[in-house]
């Protein structure tokens, strides 16, 4: 056992360090990832220890970053690229969707593209435009990509290890407002599969499903509900593609009520997929329609209004009450 308390940011840094150390084919690429260590310091100190050939500062061109990472992967490397902020991924969206996602299938399995695209995402840090978005559904919708997001330090550490080892491209969404949250990490024993959901809190009256930054909000909501005598289970999805529907189903068959919570707009969001599938799977178990809590169908608002936009404790509890009222 090597238990250590560390922030999510530190856990990611340690995980990347381990990946670089273990496999000489692993590369880190991105804007400012070298000397600066990334704008969030996730790659802090890695270039110093592994050199400019392994931790590569790139030109400011997102399509170029992902496109050259594809080429490096074709040559046998395992690039982990950093997109500096969520809203900056779109210049690379073409390379990710038309090339990265499809090359394995169109080569009939001859080509493997073990590329990890790290994206610090989501709001809550008072940032300017294009620095607070949650575009995960746009990637989860694309076959060939795997899409994950850790919510705690241990998952950050292990999911990054698993993402780097995956032969499929993984879009790795990092909840930037949780970077500094600390948690216990056992750096020796692997907790679970990359795409397995976990029950973050057990309960019997209602299930909350969330991932990334919203898991903490849901845990707080469950604690508040407990004070009102309601037993709320929280499922941390961890993977948005594929989705561990079995885990959600097991929870819903027990609690008979489901509320899905995410920061991204509700419209066409992950919650819609979860609500539809769980309704198909658990129709006769459900006591209430599956409810969703998330962002509105508007551009991400200016920072002074983001608290109105982002699901908080009260909005989650309101949905819990609505569900229980059926």
């Amino acid at each position: 056992m090597a238990m250590e308390k560390m922030s999510i940011a530190k856990a990611l840094n340690e995980s990347l360090r381990k990946a670089l150390d273990t496999d000489p084919k692993v590369l880190i690429m991105g804007e400012d990832v070298g000397k600066l260590g990334g704008v969030f310091r996730i790659t802090d100190g890695l270039q110093k220890d592994f050199g400019e050939g392994r931790v590569i500062d790139t030109p400011l061109a997102e399509s170029g970053i992902v496109g050259t990472a594809i080429g490096l992967a074709l040559r046998g490397y395992r690039p982990v690229v950093e997109i500096q902020f969520d809203g900056f991924v779109f210049p690379a969206y073409d390379q990710i969707v038309t090339q990265l996602a499809k090359m394995h299938a169109r080569s009939l399995g001859k080509i493997k593209l073990p590329v990890v695209v790290r994206i610090p995402y989501g709001g809550g840090i008072g940032a300017v435009e294009h620095h607070s978005e949650s575009p995960e559904a746009l990637f989860a919708h694309v076959a060939g990509l795997k899409v994950v997001s850790p919510s705690n330090a241990s998952d950050a550490y292990w999911m990054m290890q698993q993402a780097v080892q995956s032969d499929d491209p993984v879009i790795f969404f990092e909840p930037k407002r949780r970077y500094w949250d600390k948690g216990e990490v056992d750096t020796e024993s692997i907790p679970g599969g990359l795409h397995r959901a976990s029950v973050a809190r057990t309960g019997t009256d209602l299930t909350l499903v969330a991932y990334g930054p919203m898991v903490k909000v849901c845990l707080e909501a469950a604690a508040a509900a407990q004070e009102e005598g309601k037993s709320v289970e929280v499922v941390d999805l961890r993977s948005m593609s594929p989705i561990d529907f079995d885990a959600i189903q097991a929870s819903v068959e027990k609690t008979r009520r489901l509320v899905v919570v995410h920061e991204a707009p509700v419209f066409y969001g992950s919650g819609a997929e979860i609500a539809a599938r769980i309704t198909e799977r658990c129709f006769y178990h459900l006591e209430a329609p599956v409810l969703r809590v998330g962002g509105y169908h508007v551009p991400y608002p200016p920072a002074r209004l983001e608290d109105e936009y982002l699901p908080g404790l009260d909005r989650v509890l309101d949905a819990v009450d609505r569900s229980l009222a059926y």
């Binding site: 496109g67 394995h104 169109r106």
Partner: protein, 387 residues
């Protein structure tokens, strides 16, 4: 990129946009460039160039001629097969044989090629069976060959994307300490894509051993080169910090010499080169468009006089490097190839319907597994009904 850098990068771009371009007459840039490396004139006369000498044996000359003739025959067969409804689409290379065979024969086996969707001649040079190129156009697969068998990547439809893959691959070659090179093919239309500019930037910054081979065939579907650029394309390289050279794309000797030189430069660790092969697409962009709607007959006629195959034939005959038996033998070989291609296309098996679920993911996916099972059950329900 950061917010600060975004603002800094965008400002001057906007302000400089209007000033330079507005009053320049819309003459076709790139059609009257000063430098055009040529070793064989349209009349089939051998000329010298101070920077690109080449000395080929009669055998080698005949081999180049054979490559071009067979590639043209294959291309003609594919066009015919499309017209007969056997292929959904075909992108003909007619007129671009010299650019492709010349550059393709400059490559070493350990070099890696990133093509567009029209590099049938390059594929030929790499030893990819031409019938494998037709699967995508018939709709039975998206590729049809293992890219690593011949170091020839799958065709790329989204234009310009592959220039970045080539650059990344070349970065990997350099990291491995290998002395092979990489070549990326693209067209004059793709030169407008951001990915091509980004590939130029990355390759220059990392000194990647990559050759950018632009076949400027004058037309991007219906848009002429002047809709893509106001300067000759080869001159773009200068702004990125590496050499650009324009070669007569209908001159197989010049294409071979220039590409060989650029590849050697890459191998020596001196970084990328942009080669603009100045050529002409004699047919349509693909079998879906009608070039008579957007370009004049006289233009095509003027390029017919520069035909890459005819000029080498004239040279071979004048030099006594090929006799009648060679040409007759080649005609027979062409017909055999055409027949083989025709039969191969018609006998391509319908893919297994369950194959749509194969290879979506390398590591598998629970979702795909679930949908595969649903689809299989659905199909099985028909079988049961039939009993």
């Amino acid at each position: 990129m950061t917010v600060e850098s975004t603002a800094a990068a965008r400002k001057p771009r906007r302000s400089s946009k209007r000033t330079s371009a507005a009053k320049t007459p819309a003459k076709t840039p790139g059609t009257s460039g000063p430098e055009l490396v040529q070793l064989l004139t349209p009349e089939g006369e051998r000329v010298e160039h101070p920077d690109y000498s080449i000395d080929l044996s009669a055998d080698e000359l005949r081999a180049l001629y054979r490559d071009m003739v067979l590639t043209r025959r294959f291309d003609a067969e594919a066009t015919a097969l499309q017209r007969q409804g056997e292929l959904g689409l075909w992108a003909s290379l007619l007129g671009q044989e010299a650019a492709q065979i010349g550059s393709g024969r400059a490559l070493r086996d350990d070099d890696y090629v990133f093509p567009t969707y029209r590099e049938h001649g390059v594929a030929w040079c790499r030893g990819v069976d031409p019938t494998n190129l037709l699967g995508m156009f018939r709709g039975v697969n998206h590729g049809g060959w293992d890219p690593n068998t011949n170091n020839f990547h799958l065709y790329t439809i989204v234009i310009g994307s592959q220039t970045l893959h080539a650059t990344g691959y070349a970065m990997g070659v350099a990291k491995d300490g290998a002395d092979s090179a990489v070549i990326a093919y693209f067209g004059d239309g793709a030169s407008s894509q951001g990915d091509v500019a980004e590939a130029f930037t990355f390759s220059a910054v990392y000194n990647a051993p990559v050759v950018f081979f632009c076949q400027n065939n004058q037309w991007a579907i219906s848009e002429p080169t002047e809709k893509q650029t106001r300067v000759p394309l080869y001159q773009r390289a200068q702004g990125f910090g590496f050499p650009g050279v324009r070669v007569d794309g209908n001159d197989v000797l010049a294409c071979l010499a220039v590409t060989r030189s650029a590849l050697e430069r890459a191998r020596r660790g001196e970084g990328p080169t942009l080669v603009e092969a100045f050529t002409y697409r004699m047919g349509a962009h693909t079998t879906s468009d009608d070039p008579t709607k957007y370009r004049a007959d006289e233009e095509r006629a003027s390029w017919e006089a520069k035909d890459p195959i005819l000029r080498l034939r004239t040279y071979l005959e004048n030099e006594g490097a090929a006799d009648e038996a060679f040409f007759t033998g080649l005609d027979e070989e062409s017909e055999t190839l055409g027949k083989r291609v025709r039969e191969a296309v018609r006998s391509m098996p319908q893919p297994d319907r369950m194959a749509i679920f194969d290879h979506a993911y390398a590591d598998g996916s629970a979702l795909v597994d679930e949908e595969r099972a649903q689809f299989a059950a659905y199909q099985a329900s028909f079988a049961e009904e039939g009993k």
